[in-house]
């Protein structure tokens, strides 16, 4: 495979190993989506893409040139060329796992949306910060003061409402 790569170059790899190229691309796209997209549901879609890429690797590895479906009828001919059935079974199991993960993830998203009314991580972080569930961001001028005001003041604009509401 590596001899092939060096001799034939990128074109050959694309032509003969396109399934593996797709696998690598999907993996990277999924990972990037998980990291870069601020929307929680889209993060979960990215996660699915990431997992699907791995399924593709397994399925592609099972392929045998000219092999047929690995189902041997009763009394059918013994032997012959079949694609490998084992990776298919593994992927079926992995798909089930992936579906249940998606379900749990979406259920958590619903809970978060009910609670905070948003699915964007940046907005969510602001809200959590106001609520005190995650550390307040310390602005340079608040860092010098003691911790107590930092708790409700230093996050700046979002929770200035403490005094101004009434």
């Amino acid at each position: 495979m590596f001899a092939l790569a060096s001799a034939g170059g990128a074109v050959d790899i694309l032509a003969t190993r396109h399934a593996y190229v797709a696998f690598a691309l999907l993996l990277c796209i999924g990972l990037y989506m998980m990291i870069a997209n601020p929307n929680l549901v889209k993060k979960i879609i990215g996660l699915n893409l990431f997992q699907t890429a791995i399924f593709l690797l397994f399925i592609a590895s099972a392929y045998v040139e000219g092999g047929s479906i690995p189902i041997v009828p009763i009394g059918g001919p013994e032997g012959g060329l079949y694609v490998s059935p084992l990776p298919h079974v593994l992927v079926l199991t992995a798909i089930v796992v992936g579906v249940s993960l998606t379900a749990v993830g979406l259920a958590l998203c619903i809970r978060i949306y009910d609670e905070y009314g948003t699915l964007r991580t940046d907005t969510l972080r602001e809200l959590l910060r106001d609520e005190g569930s995650i550390p307040a961001r310390r602005s340079p001028n608040a860092a010098g003061t003691d911790g107590e005001p930092a708790a409700d003041g230093s996050a700046g604009a979002p929770d200035a409402g403490g005094e101004t509401d009434d």
């Binding site: 998980m34 979960i44 958590l108 708790a151 409700d152």
Partner: protein, 543 residues
């Protein structure tokens, strides 16, 4: 027929997991009794498996009568039995706490039993893909359990864990896929043989496979650069869930790392790929120092011990990468010891939170006078975590340290010494935060000389020094903690009362906490016994 115990240990909790939901349609509050019966049964089965392994040595069971390497097998040897006993004991003991602390409801106990089933499966399986399935069962139930108190913050922490944990499990699966491509088999022992026969240790596929598997498991274990999910998850989860998750989930993932490294890839693979071993060693060493330093900066007790786990698992990772017998023994001992100690610590913190309504270090000044037994247990376990002998924490660190120095002297050079130094630095950090805790519990509070009791004065400093973990929680939502007339932490309204001790904590979990303390100290005397116990496993992998 004794081998049928192995599938039983996995099947009993998983089948029992359906019962709270099914019977819950008709009866209320059946969850706890079913979970108690289920986990006790697992504990009994685990004890029987342990007895069999001691008497007749390791044994296995081919599931469904399909013989390996084609079929899936479950294997019990001395290493898996040790972790299995830990899983069984902790899962029974945590139930005593969950009964009083909640979360209540039948679905919680279903998830709890499923978690136990997943953990037992991870420990016993002898098949790489099967390990992935159990890893995901464990993961899924952990995500559900962490979010089980229905607060928004816990849902967010859980979702964060879900995304990171799934990436970890997927990377593990990717690694398994690569090694499957290289060898065409998934049975652990068969892979071990086929790597040599078909691929060799230098094969890029095999190397990539190991790298993916280690990265995936590191995400699950929460080694330093990829630990970010763990403090939030531990802190936001209900106390009883933190207790079981902190004691078991990362532990079994670390067990999987040891198993995959030494049973599947073997020590020869590490010797042939020094780059990989060194990379793991460097990451683990950074994890030891960074985890301890972050832990020392926290003011929330749960968060503090969560970061401490990052450091302890760094040590276990380093022990794996050092690849010598002493260090690996230390890694395994520390794995078990850390499980017991973290179970006790989180249980103690949970009990104090239940009785006195706070998990902040500053609110618990003089806790030792209000709740002497609980605070005493937490203090002893904390000292065990530091590594004061006699405790199992000391033994684990000692063996890893000796192993690291050995590796350094044997030609590993600077890296081995660096690991030993990191363990030393980490011990100092651990001492710093445990001592701070003990000082708060025993020597702070109103009416003491030098009156440390003015907690409102120094809280500002405390929090400014931290990452601010809970500055807002203290300042914003919680009012100042209630105090009794003589300045002790006041019990919350309706706090449970024990007939045994003055502590306002429930009796049964307090007994479990006492057992954890006893185990920590008693195992500390058993250095040679532990070495002997794991001797056969070590002899096998370093053959």
């Amino acid at each position: 027929m004794i081998d049928v115990l192995l599938p039983l240990a996995v099947v009993v909790p998983i089948v029992a997991a359906t019962l709270p939901l099914a019977l819950g349609l008709r009866y209320d509050r059946v969850g706890w009794p079913i979970a108690a019966v289920g986990t006790t049964a697992v504990a009994g089965i685990a004890a029987a498996i342990a007895a069999e392994v001691v008497v007749n040595g390791p044994f296995d069971h081919a599931l469904g009568g399909f013989l390996p390497p084609v079929g899936i097998e479950l294997v019990a040897d001395r290493l898996s039995v040790a972790v299995l006993l830990l899983v069984a004991a902790v899962s029974v003991a945590t139930l005593a706490f969950a009964r009083v602390a909640g979360p209540r409801g039948n679905p919680f106990y279903s998830a709890y039993l499923l978690l136990v089933g997943g953990l037992v499966g991870m420990v016993l399986t002898g098949d790489l893909f099967n390990l992935f399935v159990f890893l995901e069962i464990t993961g899924l139930t952990t995500y559900a359990l962490i979010a089980s108190d229905r607060s928004g913050a816990s849902a967010y922490a859980s979702l964060k864990y879900l995304v990171v944990g799934t990436v970890g499990a997927s990377l593990y699966l990717l690694g398994v896929g690569y090694v499957f491509l290289a060898t065409g088999t998934l049975n652990m022992l068969d892979v071990q043989a086929q790597i040599v026969a078909q691929a060799g240790y230098g094969d890029p596929l095999v190397r990539a496979s190991y790298a993916f598997i280690v990265t995936g498991l590191a995400l699950k274990i929460a080694i330093f650069p990829v630990h970010s999910w763990q403090p939030d998850a531990y802190q936001r989860a209900p106390d009883s869930v933190t207790t079981v998750v902190a004691a078991l989930v990362s532990t079994t993932s670390a067990y999987a790392l040891i198993r995959v490294t030494y049973t599947v890839f073997t020590v020869d693979f590490l010797a042939a790929n020094e780059g990989i071993a060194t990379a793991l060693l460097v990451v683990s060493t950074v994890s030891i120092v960074a985890g301890s330093a972050l832990a020392a900066m926290q003011s929330n007790l749960k968060r503090m011990f969560a970061y401490s786990s990052v450091a302890q698992f760094g040590m276990i990772g380093a022990a794996v990468a050092l690849a010598n017998e002493t260090a690996l023994l230390g890694g395994i001992v520390h794995l078990i010891g850390h499980g017991i100690m973290k179970f006790g610590l989180f249980l103690g913190i949970g009990l104090l939170a239940l009785g006195y309504g706070s998990r902040q270090m500053s609110d618990l000044a003089s806790a030792a006078r209000a709740a002497p037994y609980t605070s005493g247990a937490v203090a002893v376990l904390g000292l065990g975590l530091v590594g004061i002998p006699p405790s199992i924490g000391f033994l684990g660190k000692w063996y890893i340290g000796v192993g690291a120095v050995d590796a350094g002297l044997a030609g590993g050079g600077a890296v081995g010494i660096a690991v030993a130094a990191a363990i030393f630095v980490s011990t100092l950090f651990t001492l710093s935060y445990v001592a701070r805790l003990i000082e708060r519990f025993y020597f702070a509070g109103a009416g003491l000389p030098g009156d440390h009791g003015e907690i409102f004065g120094d809280r500002g400093d405390d929090d400014a020094a931290t990452d601010g973990g809970d500055a807002a929680a203290v300042g914003g939502r919680n009012e100042s903690p209630a105090k009794t007339a003589d300045g002790l932490p006041a019990p919350v309204e309706g706090a449970p009362r024990s007939w045994l001790v003055p502590d306002r904590v429930p009796t049964a979990p307090l007994l479990a906490l006492g057992l954890a303390v006893l185990a920590t100290v008693a195992l500390g005397f058993g250095g040679f016994a532990l070495a002997e116990w794991f001797g056969p496993f070590l002899a096998e992998v370093f053959a």
